[in-house]
């Protein structure tokens, strides 16, 4: 009961002031049949120590990165987060604030969103970015829906190897629109957009000039998905795109078994009013001081209701803060250096795995992850290595394994991985 400040005395005083005998009198509009006397499987309250022990025991049943060599990526990445990031996001003023609907007392959150929008715009080579999306997969789905609104067409084309979960999420979202089609291949004159992931799901980075040309010829929008945002410190900015969206978990956000992560969404200025999600803009207050507000909300559900560009409301504010703090620490120099270190670790991993008998590196090009072909079932290799404390990667297509290296990967980790592979192959 430690979270409840009312006392028996204060409750009695308040009931008297209201003029009712008991709190149940206040529930008199509720049908009697809806009340429950107790719950079979929910205990009574517990102290902090007890809760910590219960959940601590569950935590100990897991095998986290950091306890052993770790080579899993596939849309969620194991990166270092500086200590300052977690300190800042745990400040009450950020952690326990609401969406900044009262801008006079929310300038902290608002300026952070403005800085986040600027960082995403700069990284993606786009004009503008919103205040965040749930994750990369839903950002990609919203991009497809926006392209359908802009072009008034209903065909969405996946142009290359898109993360399979993104593909499934797209199918769910697109499937809601009657007449909408989701397909693979190249854009044609009925196409709303073509979606290109870079680096793609298998780790290969893509040049975009040819896709831009195809889009110009057909009138389709070019949607570029990036789910390893650190790659933008080494790969060219996708300036050719009409929309760049994806996952920014890699900067500042823990893997946390799949969430909360950080979707981002950037586009060209001409599409501003078709964009989903919240936007923060700069303005002046009554004294002429610079300040920030949520703006252009006539696109949003609380004003437009069924005519809104999206139903998104709460997004990933605190994760956007974590990203902004981490990116501020990295800065221009640190971010590019981090990208280099990731690439360098992946090169070392590729060269080491190539020397393991039976292992074939498939990618010619990659950023920090790539595919290897194994002489046996990749899923069984992953299971066997997990028993030895090595998280080997993402198995797919029977004998293929998607592996990833980051700045967290040490030479020792790579050595242990290769040795373990030699033993099981």
């Amino acid at each position: 009961m430690r979270y409840l400040p009312q006392t028996q005395k204060s409750r009695a005083e308040m009931l008297a002031a209201i003029g009712v005998a008991s709190v149940d009198d206040l529930y008199r509009d509720v049908p009697k049949s809806a009340f429950i006397q107790g719950y079979a499987r929910i205990d009574n309250h517990k102290g902090e120590l007890e809760v910590e022990r219960i959940l601590g025991a569950y935590a100990n049943e897991n095998q986290p990165a950091g306890e052993g060599p770790f080579f899993l990526g596939a849309g969620c990445y194991n990166h270092h987060v500086p200590a300052s990031v977690d300190y800042i996001i745990q400040r009450s003023e950020f952690l326990t604030a609401y969406t900044p609907y009262q801008p006079e007392i929310a300038q902290g959150t608002l300026q952070v969103i403005f800085e986040f929008q600027t960082m995403i715009a700069v990284l993606t080579g786009q004009d503008i970015a919103n205040a965040s999306m749930y994750d990369g997969a839903t950002a990609a789905a919203e991009a497809a829906l926006m392209a359908m609104r802009v072009t008034k067409r209903d065909k969405v084309v996946v142009g290359n190897a898109l993360h399979p979960h993104y593909r499934e999420t797209l199918a769910t979202y697109i499937g809601n629109q009657s007449g909408a089609v989701l397909t693979e291949g190249q854009p044609d004159p009925q196409t709303a957009c073509v979606i290109i992931q870079t680096p793609d799901f298998t780790g290969t980075p893509h040049a975009l000039a040819e896709w831009r040309k195809l889009c110009d010829e057909t009138g389709a929008l070019l949607v570029v998905v990036v789910n390893e945002i650190v790659s933008l410190g080494l790969l060219p900015a996708p300036v050719e795109a009409d929309i760049v969206c994806g996952e920014a978990q890699s900067v500042g956000v823990a893997m946390s078994y799949g969430g909360p992560h950080l979707g981002f969404f950037a586009t060209k200025e001409k599409f501003l009013r078709q964009m989903p999600g919240r936007l923060c803009g700069m303005t002046l207050d009554a004294d002429g001081k610079r300040g920030f507000v949520l703006t252009l909300n006539t696109r949003e559900q609380h004003i437009r209701r069924e005519k809104a560009t999206s139903n998104i409301c709460t997004n990933q504010g605190l994760m956007a803060l974590a990203f902004t703090v981490h990116m501020a620490l990295l800065g221009e120099g640190g971010f590019k250096q981090l990208a280099r270190l990731n690439h360098e670790a992946a090169i070392l991993l590729a060269d080491s795995l190539a020397k393991v008998p039976g292992v074939k590196v498939i990618n010619k090009c990659f950023f920090n992850e790539f595919v290897v072909e194994l002489p046996k079932s990749a899923a069984s290799v992953v299971r066997e290595l997990a028993q030895q404390g090595v998280i080997a990667g993402y198995p797919f297509e029977d004998n293929r394994l998607l592996v990833c290296a980051t700045e967290m990967t040490t030479d020792t980790d790579i050595g242990i991985f290769c040795e373990a592979l030699r033993e099981v192959l």
């Binding site: 409840l4 400040p5 009312q6 308040m14 209201i18 509009d29 509720v30 719950y39 499987r41 929910i42 205990d43 309250h45 517990k46 959940l55 025991a57 935590a59 100990n60 897991n62 095998q63 899993l72 009450s92 003023e93 950020f94 006079e104 007392i105 929310a106 300038q107 902290g108 300026q111 969103i113 403005f114 600027t118 960082m119 700069v122 749930y134 997969a137 839903t138 979960h165 499937g175 809601n176 946390s256 969430g259 919240r278 002046l284 207050d285 001081k289 610079r290 703006t295 609380h302 069924e306 809104a308 409301c313 504010g317 501020a328 620490l329 221009e332 590019k336 270190l341 090169i347 299971r383």
Partner: protein, 512 residues
């Protein structure tokens, strides 16, 4: 003095040395890009040793990020933080948002390495503890709602609404009812309800509630059987209960019965579950599917706009159509994430991975802490606090719908508006008095709405202070002392901001 000079353009305001306007503990803070760039960043990384590239593309030369040291970064964000109001500062009666205390135990638990540093695609044998957390939360939410099919994937309330409506749609499609295209929504609904229905390609039919603030059987029948129909074009209804006027829908069971007879499903927006949790189960008043805002009822922090988490709970008739994945327990006792390919009738995948796991953990820590007895007290105190406010302010402000209310109470500015003091002025006056305003101008069914949700984590003392300030506002307006209200706030980090300018001349990013 610089601070008193009125500036008309953003360019002029930006080019001034903002830091010079700092006074006392009120810090001005410029943008990261406006700081003099340093020689080195705020991290020390090892120097790359290898200059060869295997990306197949040219290396990027410039990104366009700022570059400053660690102490500058810390100071920047700490200063910005001081410009925010938060639940840890004080009273935050934001109706429909349930701004309750956020226990720090939850934060500690979510940061345990065994939870924070596991990957969503790790072999299931290496994440059994995490799956157990999800499985137990699924069961508890199922029990609290009496809707036993639970999927934790949705990322927020609006995402839960989407999941819920798509589950309904999938059920209709697989049962030869795909022609049903209408969703009934009361006019008091959250904006996300019609927006979500539109995303599912549904047509909205509005149930008017303006007269009594509630859905009546009569109004419901008119909507269900509109144009002489038999209700067979209706896929379902979306009703928030308690509703956004703070009232319990008294006739909801009758409406649900009629809807069910016509073949529709009842979706309940769970935004207001805090009035019911531990005491009343939505599955017992006709609900077929409901989303739960873990960031409202179950205390996970709002974080200045997310992350939220919006699990959905459904009854047996809809379980097979839930989104994927869901956590199941296998015969050997181990836990397993059942994916799209194992659940052929599922409506599909909603999100990259299995949901906002960090929020699932925090919610479970909260539920274990409160237990069944504590949760019952939560809803009772929340309802008591709201009714206490209503009882103390009903003479001073207009009450559009008579109480008792549930966990929030609705007032309007009807008694003040005629002399020129509006809901907006009242909100900004609360800011001047060091409180967060209530929800304003929502719900839309009344003019000048003020929706007040104190939550159970406020003491009588803090509620009394709010009541005192509100009574003083009403008294000042009555005595004709109204001019000052238009100027508030005077003491906040910013005065009222020009939102028209922001929308007409959008500046959405920093540019050199």
């Amino acid at each position: 003095m610089v601070a008193e000079r009125k500036i008309e353009t953003i360019e002029k305001a930006s080019s001034m040395n903002m830091m010079d306007q700092t006074r006392g503990l009120n810090y001005e803070e410029n943008l990261l890009w406006e700081k003099a760039p340093g020689d080195h960043p705020g991290v020390d990384l090892p120097a790359p040793q290898n200059s060869t590239l295997r990306t197949g593309l040219a290396a990027r030369s410039t990104v366009g990020l700022p570059q400053v040291s660690e102490p500058q970064v810390l100071r920047h964000f700490v200063r910005l933080s001081t410009k925010n109001y938060s639940i840890d500062h004080g009273f935050f009666p934001l109706g429909s948002c349930t701004m309750k205390h956020n226990p720090r135990l939850n934060e500690k638990v979510a940061r345990m390495p065994g939870f924070a540093h596991i990957h969503p695609l790790q072999p299931e044998s290496t994440v059994q503890g995490a799956l157990r957390v999800m499985y137990e939360l699924q069961n508890i939410l199922g029990e609290l709602t009496n809707l036993r099919g639970v999927c934790l994937t949705p990322a927020a309330g609006a995402h839960g609404e989407l999941a819920g409506l798509m589950t309904i749609r999938r059920a209709h499609e697989l049962n030869g009812q795909g022609h049903r295209k209408v969703i009934l929504v009361p006019d008091s609904a959250h904006g996300t309800n019609p927006a979500t229905a539109a995303m599912c390609d549904y047509t909205i039919r509005v149930i008017p509630t303006k007269d009594g603030g509630r859905v009546t059987v009569e109004a419901f029948k008119e909507a269900l059987y509109a144009n002489g129909g038999d209700g067979k074009d209706v896929a379902g209804m979306m009703v928030t209960n308690p509703n956004t006027c703070g009232l319990f829908e008294r006739e909801i069971i009758e409406c649900a019965d009629l809807l069910h007879k016509a073949g529709g499903y009842f979706y309940c927006d769970g935004a207001n579950f805090n009035a019911l949790v531990g005491k009343i189960r939505p599955g017992d008043f006709g609900v077929d599917v409901m989303h739960i805002n873990l960031h409202k009822t179950f205390s996970t922090p709002h974080g200045g706009g997310g992350p939220g988490s919006g699990p959905i709970c459904v009854n047996e008739s809809l379980r097979a159509y839930l989104p994927s994945p869901v956590v199941v327990q296998d015969k050997d006792g181990s836990y397993h994430l059942e994916g799209v390919d194992e659940r052929p009738t599922s409506m599909g995948r909603l999100k990259g991975f299995q949901g906002q796991f960090g929020m699932h953990l925090r919610a479970l820590a909260y539920i274990l802490s409160h237990g069944a007895d504590g949760l019952k007290q939560v809803s009772e105190d929340a309802v008591l606090n709201a009714n206490y406010i209503l009882s103390q302010l009903k003479e001073d402000f207009y009450v559009p719908f008579a109480g008792p209310c549930m966990h929030e109470c609705l007032l309007t500015d009807k008694l003040q508006k005629d002399v020129g003091v509006t809901t907006l002025d009242i909100a900004k006056t609360l800011i001047e008095h060091g409180m967060h305003p209530m929800t304003v101008f929502f719900p839309l069914v009344v003019s000048g709405a003020m929706l007040i949700e104190p939550t159970e984590t406020e003491s009588k003392e803090s509620i009394d202070r709010f009541i005192t300030v509100m009574k003083a506002v009403a008294a000042d307006v009555k005595s004709g002392d109204t001019a000052k209200f238009h100027d508030f706030p005077l003491s906040a980090p910013r005065r009222r901001l020009d939102e028209t300018k922001a929308a007409r001349e959008p500046v959405l990013r920093w540019k050199a």
